[in-house]
Every structure is written in structure tokens, then in C-alpha cells.
């Protein structure tokens, strides 16, 4: 496992990369997202697993994103994702709509190394009509006509997330956020920020191993204390609802969003406070 500085980690994600991000309740690395914005990354293709939130809205507002494939973009109780909605209206990004279990299924197909996987439902939804990459076949196991959707494997170039700890073998503890394991298995490269690197093998600990992603999947790790903030890390720090409300307020306008970036992404004070 290769332990890097945060900015070095961000530099591995090149312009135009396909980047899978978990939703806000499932530990995107906000520290790494801020570093990508500071690095001026462009034309990213975001993948929401299965939905997208603050971290994606921030990247979209900062002009880093060309497209987003997701089942929904929302700030949760803080309301709609203002920069996503604005960018879509302005035509500066495109959105590829999906439905949550389809996002999971496409990643599971990549995890399994199969070219596609079936999923029930979806037929009759306009989503299907706008996904030429999704196919309907007649279920060959059914005695009668039984149309079923086949979804192609989705292999993101990068998975970015935050976790409580890694060990020196590159094993990463994600606890019950097991969707992060699926994302890691399905992605070509996995970049993780952690609160700390511990000096024992997480896989040797019977209590920690079940919540650990093996180092076979993890390419690089950087330490970013409070790297999930303003999202909470269970057991470490709480979700910052006040900051989410502040973001939702400021990001209503582009000018407000730019002020937000200055205050919380670009300024050294923000770096010192947040990272």
C-alpha cells in the first residue's frame, strides 16, 4: 500500500476520469473532493452509488464535471442539490438517469466479472427508454413470455471514499458501509482517505475483518483527519447539519457558491480547520 499526501492522491485522478462516489450518508471523501477542486480537475464523469449528494454538487458547482450517472441528486433534509439543478438547466452537464438497484447491479456485474446482470422492475419506466445501453430480453427460464432487463457491467475508473482507518497493508475499515466494498471491487483504482493508519493487520482482527476491504483492491491511501466533514463519520464525529444548511443557502446562487468555495475549499484557514 502506498501512503500519499492528499494532494498527491488527488493528482492521480486525471481530467476526464470516471469517478464513483458514494452518497452523503456513506462516506464520500469530502477532503479529496476539495483537493480535486483545488487541483482544477475538469470533465469528470461522476457515478452516484446509487445516488449523489453534497460531494457531487460541490464538484459540479466548481466546474469539474461533464456528466453524472446517478439515481438521484439531493442534499437530503437540506433540499435539492442547487448546483446540479443549475448546471443541468444551463446545459453545462449531462445526466444519465438510473434507478438505485440498477446502479448496484451494474457494479455487482463488474465485481463478478460478467458482462451483464438482470434486474426485475424498470420496464415501463421512461428511464429504460433513455438507456440504450440497457437491454430487455425474454427470460429464457420462463415457460411463458417474461421480459426482463439486462444491465451492463459498470467499471468505474476510480472509486474515492473516506474511512475510519487503514493499515499498512492497504486494508481499509469501512464498517457497515459495505457498498464501499462493492464499489472498490468493481473499480479499476481505489483511492481512500482515512482518519488514521494503524500498525496492526485489520484482517487479523476477527471483530474488524468483517468491515474491512482487503488491500488487494486499494491502490493508494492518504491521511485526512475529519476527511468526511461536513459528513459525519460514525463513532468519530457527527454529521454537520448546520453546515449543510449553510451550503444549501449559499449555493442557491453561483455568486454564493463561489463565496462558499473561497471560504471552505480554497482558503488556508478552511484547510487547517477541515483537513
Amino acid at each position: 500500500m502506498d501512503l500519499l499526501q492528499l494532494d498527491a492522491l488527488a493528482s492521480l485522478v486525471l481530467d476526464g476520469a470516471t469517478v464513483a462516489l458514494p452518497p452523503d450518508n456513506s462516506l464520500p471523501s469530502c477532503a479529496l473532493v476539495r483537493a480535486l477542486i483545488r487541483a482544477g480537475r475538469k470533465n469528470l464523469h461522476l457515478i452516484g452509488v446509487p445516488v449523489s449528494g453534497y460531494a457531487s454538487d460541490l464538484l459540479i458547482g466548481a466546474g469539474c464535471v461533464a456528466s453524472i450517472e446517478t439515481s438521484g441528486v439531493t442534499l437530503g433534509e437540506a433540499g435539492a442539490a442547487p448546483r446540479f439543478v443549475a448546471a443541468l438547466a444551463a446545459g453545462t452537464i449531462t445526466v444519465l438517469d438510473a434507478t438505485c438497484p440498477a446502479m448496484h447491479t451494474m457494479l455487482q456485474a463488474a465485481e463478478k466479472g460478467v458482462p451483464f446482470m438482470p434486474l426485475r422492475g424498470i420496464i415501463g419506466s421512461d428511464i429504460l427508454a433513455h438507456r440504450p445501453d440497457w437491454k430487455v430480453i425474454d427470460n429464457p427460464f420462463a415457460p411463458e413470455i417474461d421480459p426482463i432487463v439486462l444491465l451492463p457491467a459498470l467499471r468505474p475508473g476510480f472509486a474515492l471514499f473516506h474511512a475510519e482507518m487503514a493499515d499498512t497493508h492497504g486494508n481499509v475499515y469501512v464498517g457497515r458501509r459495505r457498498e464501499l466494498a462493492t464499489i472498490a471491487h468493481a473499480s479499476n483504482r481505489v483511492l481512500v482517505t482515512v482518519e488514521q493508519v494503524v500498525d496492526f493487520d485489520l484482517l487479523d482482527d476477527e471483530r474488524l475483518a468483517p468491515g474491512t476491504i482487503g488491500g488487494a483492491y486499494v491502490d493508494h491511501v492518504a491521511i485526512a483527519q475529519r476527511g468526511a466533514w461536513p459528513i459525519g463519520l460514525p463513532g468519530c464525529y457527527d454529521f454537520d447539519a448546520a453546515h449543510f444548511a449553510e451550503y444549501a443557502r449559499m449555493a442557491r446562487t453561483d455568486a454564493g457558491f463561489q463565496a462558499y468555495l473561497q471560504r471552505y475549499v480554497y482558503s488556508d484557514a478552511a484547510l487547517a480547520a477541515a483537513e
Binding site: 443541468l88 438547466a89 438497484p101 448496484h104
Partner: protein, 244 residues
């Protein structure tokens, strides 16, 4: 609305709801489920976005796998638009993918609506803008063509003004009851789609004193962590109170 939803959850005419799932950003259905549970019913609740005590250990796909397995009996869906055939639109108005107003997105609706035996639709705002003759974009269809695998449809639609029942065979809503202050005529005026109406329309029962006490007490206790804004707005309760 929560009380009306609670009555529908326990409707003796519907298949039993042993395991109810509630999606993210659904405080009213969550309150209804807690009301049913705190009143003593033996139901399992799986609440998404619960920060602590989240029942899923297989990641966020577990809800959908549970539904696929047939282990979820009842789910709730809202809609930016809902039409008279119970189609729901969570994507946006105008042309694809929401050229006029963009909504957040479909979430799991295109799967859950077809895989769960009972879905209760809910939307507080009852206006012709929301309840339209035909949704601009179908996130999830109200009914499916013969031969398409589907386990259930909408059971009902609960709004800020009334309760509609849904008949999948006719693909049509019928007015069941109106909330206090509403009439059959006021509902008709606020609804953009056509529906059936009985000769005499019942009133939605008022919450009982016990139900109100549960909502303000035990139900709010359970919801404070996940929905602090909702609890503050509806019950004037702050998240800190519980800790103190």
C-alpha cells in the same frame, strides 16, 4: 396525514404488512410507521438514512435485495407529479430529463413500485401542478402490461386534502375520504386528474388523543435524529432535547 397513512398500513382488507421499508427523505411515512409500531403492532421497520441502528449490513443494496426476495410487504413513494393512472414522476417536468423543473431523480422507484406487494403514495401538496392528467416523465409506472413481472401496485394515495384508493384493474383512483376542512368539491378543484367519487364522501378520521400523544412523544423520539428539521417544524422539538 401520518394518521391516515397509519390507518392504511393497518387496513384489514390489504395483505399483511409484516415488514415495512421507508425510503430516504420520507418523514411523514416514517411517522406513520412509528405510530403503528408504538401503538403495539408487530411490524418490522427498515428505515433508510437512519444514522444509527440502520438495519442493513450488506450496504445500501440490501433494501432492494430484500424487496427482490419478497421480504418487504409495504413501501412508500412520493412524486413530483402523480397522474390518474398512478404513474409517478420523480425526474422532472417538460422534456427529458426535466427541461422545465428538474426533480432529484427516480431513486429506487422504478424497481420498488413493481416488486413490493403494496405501495402507499403520498404527497402533501395537493394541487393541479402535482396531480396531473399524465406525468411528463414516468419514473415508475402505475400499472404494467400483461406479462410484465409485477408484484403489486399503489394501494392508495394520501395527500394534504384527502385519501384516494387505487384500483389497478381499472387504473383509476377513487376518493375515499376528505381531511377536515375539505369537501368533495374542493378536492376535485385541486386535482388535475379524473377519478371516481362516491355519492357521499366520508371524512378522514381525526387523530385520537392517544395517537397525538404518541406522535408528539415516542414517535418524535425515534425520528429526531434522522429528521431534526421535520421534528422542529411539526412538533417544535429540538434534537438536543432528547440528549438533555
Amino acid at each position: 396525514m401520518a394518521v391516515a397513512l397509519a390507518a392504511l398500513i393497518q387496513d384489514p382488507a390489504a395483505p399483511p404488512a409484516r415488514h415495512i421499508a421507508v425510503g430516504a427523505a420520507s418523514p411523514i411515512p416514517a411517522a406513520a410507521c412509528w405510530l403503528v409500531r408504538k401503538a403495539g403492532a408487530n411490524v418490522r421497520l427498515s428505515l433508510l438514512h437512519k444514522r444509527r441502528g440502520n438495519p442493513f449490513t450488506e450496504g445500501t443494496r440490501e433494501l432492494f435485495d430484500l424487496a427482490g426476495q419478497g421480504r418487504i410487504d409495504l413501501f412508500f413513494l412520493g412524486g413530483g407529479q402523480i397522474d390518474g393512472q398512478a404513474n409517478i414522476n420523480l425526474i422532472g417536468t417538460g422534456d427529458w430529463p426535466g427541461s422545465k423543473v428538474r426533480f432529484p431523480g427516480s431513486f429506487g422507484s422504478a424497481f420498488m413500485y413493481m416488486m413490493v406487494p403494496r405501495t402507499i403514495l403520498f404527497r402533501e401538496e395537493h394541487s393541479p401542478r402535482v396531480f396531473v392528467p399524465r406525468v411528463d416523465i414516468v419514473s415508475a409506472p402505475g400499472i404494467s402490461a400483461p406479462g410484465v413481472y409485477r408484484r403489486g401496485t399503489a394501494q392508495a394515495l394520501v395527500t394534504g386534502k384527502c385519501v384516494f384508493g387505487f384500483d389497478p384493474a381499472r387504473a383509476r383512483f377513487r376518493l375515499v375520504s376528505v381531511h377536515p376542512g375539505e369537501t368533495a368539491a374542493s378536492v376535485r378543484a385541486a386535482t388535475g386528474f379524473d377519478y371516481d367519487e362516491p355519492a357521499t364522501v366520508e371524512d378522514t378520521p381525526d387523530p385520537s388523543a392517544e395517537q397525538l400523544a404518541l406522535l408528539r412523544g415516542a414517535v418524535c423520539d425515534e425520528m429526531l435524529e434522522t429528521y431534526p428539521e421535520f421534528c422542529r417544524r411539526v412538533w417544535q422539538r429540538e434534537a438536543q432535547e432528547r440528549v438533555a
